[in-house]
């Protein structure tokens, strides 16, 4: 047991180094959300509070969207392409010939990706006040929403990694899932401005539900149960399907 913990810890250290060594994923995973926040926040009209948005500014709406955006990048893009590449190269096979079950790799990768998304979020929250974005006013609901959102995105990513045959196909399928999710997250058109029917559909996508739950708690309300349950359902169903379908070679 002790030895398993040791193995997972070494795996996590190795994967963290590898993540940081790849400048592109490291930048997009860690820094892109805060950079985007800075760019958007530098536009004066974005910082203006509007009565249409319950007295919030556009940049305030974008903060949770950017938090979800980093989860999407990690879950739908980085994780599936990494696992597909590991499978293609035989990394997973080599590991399965050792005493450690390759499933322990998930024990290293999922906390790592959660950690990266958390750092990206903390950076957004640290820079936010400069641009008039207050800290989340319902911290408990916010943490819960963020953890469920992360679990949902990473599970969907694992499911993608389970069904794609190759790293190339992984990137393609990841992109196919990525753009609708981006759309429903409101990154192009924040949910406040979108037609009701789009929001209604979006409520039942992982990204739409995640953004809504984070926005609510940021504004001081406890997130709606439906949204949290939607995220939990994605996490459980996609996670269970991935566990059944994942191939090591």
């Amino acid at each position: 047991m002790n030895h398993t913990v040791h193995a997972v810890r070494r795996l996590a250290v190795a994967e963290t180094r590898l993540f940081l060594r790849d400048p592109l994923t490291a930048f997009f995973g860690l820094l892109f959300p805060v950079v985007l926040l800075g760019v958007l926040g530098s536009i004066p009209s974005m910082r203006k509070a509007s009565p249409d948005m319950h007295g919030m500014s556009t940049i305030q709406l974008y903060a949770p969207i950017l938090a979800v955006f980093s989860l999407m990048l990690l879950g739908l893009n980085a994780l599936p392409s990494l696992l597909a590449a590991y499978r293609e190269r035989g990394v997973l096979r080599r590991m399965s010939a050792s005493p450690v079950r390759p499933a322990l790799l998930f024990g290293a990768l999922l906390p790592l990706y959660l950690g990266i998304a958390t750092v990206a979020l903390l950076l957004v929250m640290a820079v936010g006040p400069v641009l008039g974005v207050a800290l989340p006013r319902q911290p408990l609901g916010f943490v819960l929403a963020f953890l469920l959102a992360a679990a949902a995105m990473l599970s969907v990513g694992l499911l993608l990694a389970s069904v794609v045959p190759s790293a190339k196909a992984g990137n393609a399928v990841g992109a196919l899932a990525f753009f609708p999710m981006m759309f429903f997250s409101g990154i192009w058109l924040p949910r406040e401005f979108a037609p009701a029917v789009v929001n209604r559909i979006g409520d039942f996508t992982p990204s739409g539900a995640a953004v809504q739950a984070l926005q609510d708690s940021w504004a001081g309300h406890f997130p709606h149960a439906v949204g949290l349950l939607t995220l939990a359902a994605y996490a459980l169903l996609a996670g269970a399907a991935a566990a059944r379908l994942f191939r090591w070679e």
Binding site: L11, V91, R94, A97
Partner: protein
């Protein structure tokens, strides 16, 4: 005591039967070769021993354990070098060794292995930047890092130049000298001849012969070739008629007689009886190469 016992092993991929009734055993401390042409089922057979594949039928015991059912107890005691596997591209040599050391309950000191396998200069080199030989050494080091009792090495010299192969052979001997039982998968006869105490020849999913390299040569009836230049005329037909002789070739006054058994004694006896003096006498015993070809020949 047998370290590996395989009996009646069968395995099919879909409708393609890869192994049919394969049986062999490996004794503690020996280097055992599994050899055969590509597609003979060698890799499948070792993967069944490593627990990476489940046999359709038959029994496989490694260190007395079932490789699939008792995987968690067996894996810490075996080391594996896979034919086609890579590591994470950016993982450095020292990091790979440190990582894999952490996957085993009682590993060797990975720094020692780094020096032992001549990888000290590459300790900070990422996997993707290693040469074929360096990768191979790293994989052997990874196979040994858990202090295994049995090491499985699959096609370990395929990507190497002749010098690299000789160096690797030296390393395999070193593994054996440390008391580790080695199962070596190969399609190179010279490799098996140089390294293995015993070997099994697989062909078309069946074991066609098992024994020491010398026994395999003898069993195949590969024999040898006797070449000489007679100083007086000699009718090749008389040589061909001798017992054991399989072929006689004559070129530019030089005669080459191939045969099996005591054919050479027969030939020299004839020469002595006829009083024919010969020059340029050469005897070549057929090696495992010829034996292998004879054993895996499909037209017979």
């Amino acid at each position: 005591m047998a370290v590996i016992e395989v009996a009646g092993l069968r395995k099919a991929y879909g409708r393609r039967q890869v192994l049919e009734d394969v049986s062999f055993s490996v004794e503690r401390g020996e280097v055992f070769g599994l050899l055969g042409p590509n597609g003979a089922g060698k890799t499948t057979a070792v993967e069944c021993c490593e627990g990476l594949r489940r046999a359709d039928a038959g029994t496989v015991r490694v260190l007395g354990l079932d490789p699939v059912r008792d995987a968690h107890r067996l894996r810490p005691r075996i080391g594996v070098q896979l034919q086609q596997a890579q590591l994470q591209g950016g993982l450095r040599v020292a990091e790979a060794l440190e990582l894999y050391a952490a996957l085993y309950p009682s590993p060797r000191d990975w720094r020692e292995l780094l020096d032992e396998w001549g990888l000290a200069d590459q300790r900070r080199t990422p996997f993707d930047k290693l040469s074929g030989g360096q990768r191979q050494r790293l994989f052997i080091a990874l196979a040994l890092i858990g202090n295994p009792e049995v090491a499985f090495l699959d096609e370990l010299t395929t990507a190497l130049d002749p010098q690299g192969r000789r160096d690797t052979w030296e390393l395999v001997r070193r593994i054996r000298d440390n008391g580790v039982t080695v199962v070596l998968v190969s399609h190179f006869m010279d490799e098996v001849e140089a390294l293995c105490d015993r070997a099994a020849v697989l062909d078309g999913g069946r074991i066609v012969a098992t024994g020491t390299p010398a026994e395999l040569v003898a069993r195949s009836g590969a024999g040898g070739t006797l070449g000489f230049r007679p100083t007086a005329p000699l009718d090749p037909a008389r040589l061909a008629a001798l017992p054991g002789v399989t072929s006689v070739r004559e070129r530019d006054g030089r005669i080459e007689v191939s045969g099996v058994g005591d054919f050479a004694d027969q030939v020299t006896g004839l020469l002595a009886r006829e009083g024919i003096v010969v020059t340029g006498l050469r005897i070549r015993e057929h090696g495992l190469d010829e034996a292998y070809l004879a054993l895996t020949r499909h037209d017979s």
